[in-house]
């Protein structure tokens, strides 16, 4: 019976190991690949748009947008939802102007474009940003979900392990004559003795009084 349970535990642990691999490594890398592929496709669309003669390859708006996409592709491995949120929060309080630098440059770059091209380039930029948010949320969600499953299982193990230790300790303590036992025992025996002694004294006195 014990061997069967041990083998079941072993199989649970193997599944947990597999889940940890999928959650922490495989899925993470997959989402990076997927995000990069989506941005590659977007960058190629931008290239085709420029090749069609809509914008010059050396126009600041084109080069700025392409650099932004290259940055996304290059640094996607470093960006996570937590990192993104912390940086946004911290810069909001301590370095408010710097993160707006790109937006300012972008505004300067597109100012000379006609409305149609401007709109199209804004659409490219928005799609790139949406890809980034999608990547941040999806990759983070899957990772956290698997981390939670593994975390809860390990916590339960720890709680159970600790619980068992505490119960075993209490049982051991309760099974032994401890301070409370001794006190109770002493109290009862001494009290009885005292009562018995008092009764004896009373009886003796009563007898003596009767005699008298």
């Amino acid at each position: 019976m014990e061997t069967t349970t041990a083998v079941t535990i072993l199989s649970t642990l193997l599944s947990l190991l597999g889940l940890a691999y999928l959650g922490f490594w495989a899925f993470r890398q997959f989402y990076i690949d997927e995000f990069r592929q989506n941005v590659f496709r977007l960058r190629d669309e931008l290239f085709d748009y420029a090749r069609a003669g809509n914008i010059a390859f050396d126009h600041p708006a084109y080069t700025t947008l392409r650099s932004l996409m290259n940055g996304y592709i290059r640094f996607s491995e470093r960006i996570s939802l937590v990192h993104f949120l912390f940086v946004s929060l911290l810069t909001r309080f301590t370095n408010r102007d710097y993160p707006n630098k790109f937006s300012a440059e972008w505004e300067r770059a597109i100012v000379s474009l006609d409305e149609g091209t401007k709109e199209k380039l804004e659409e490219f930029r928005n799609r790139a940003s949406l890809e980034l948010f999608h990547y941040l949320f999806i990759s983070s969600y899957v990772k956290k979900a698997i981390a939670i499953v593994i975390g809860i299982t390990l916590l339960l193990i720890a709680a159970l392990l600790k619980g068992r230790v505490v119960i075993a300790y209490l049982k051991k303590k309760l099974a032994r004559p401890n301070g409370v036992d001794t006190l109770a025992y002493d109290y009862t025996t001494q009290h009885s003795a005292q009562v018995r002694e008092s009764i004896d004294v009373f009886n003796t006195n009563a007898v003596a009084f009767g005699r008298a």
Binding site: E2, T3, T5, A6, T8, I9, L10, S11, T12, L13, S15, L16, L17, G18, L19, A20, L22, G23, F24, A26, F27, F30, D33, E34, Q37, F40, R41, D44, R78, S80, V82, H83, F86, V87, L90, T91, T94, N95, D97, Y98, P99, K101, I146, A147, V149, I150, G151, T153, L154, L156, I157, L160, L161, G163, R164, V165
Partner: protein, 145 residues
């Protein structure tokens, strides 16, 4: 034609310096946050692995007869329902991973192939094709029914 480089004014230099300082601060802050979040992430990752490895060690000790299940306190994992649930989770996640990988590969093939065909046709207008689908699947007309 002589080249004349205008030296920046004091005000321009001050502005540039302020911008460089802000950039430097931003990079430092971002780097610190990156290190902290990576450390937390690694704590999750390797903490889980360590926990699992420790449980493996305990269970091997049980199988070797050095201790009993009652002593190690992980008999919770020996519950068939829990074991099955975790195994299902692992199996479904594995299948989902494989499916999504395949879908991504096919999308990549489609994207690259479309551009490849276009570029090759510019060099060789008579370029022949294997007639696979854009995603690299067998042409439905070639499937024997």
């Amino acid at each position: 034609m002589s080249k004349f480089i205008k030296s920046p004014s004091k005000q321009e230099l001050i502005e540039e310096l302020a911008e460089l300082k802000a950039q430097n601060r931003y990079i430092r802050q971002s780097r610190i946050i990156y290190l902290v979040t990576t450390a937390i992430n690694n704590l999750f990752k390797y903490g889980s692995l360590l926990g699992i490895a420790y449980c493996f060690y305990l269970i091997i000790a049980v199988l070797a007869g050095k201790t009993t299940l009652a002593n190690i306190g992980i008999s919770f994992l020996g519950n068939v329902r829990i074991s099955e649930t975790v195994a299902w989770l692992f199996g479904v996640s594995g299948v989902a991973f494989g499916y999504r990988q395949r879908r991504l590969r096919r999308k990549t093939v489609e994207h690259l192939q479309t551009r490849n065909i276009e570029l090759e046709k510019q060099i060789d207008p008579n370029r022949t094709s294997s007639t696979l689908t854009p995603r690299g699947d067998t042409n439905p007309r070639d499937v024997l029914k």
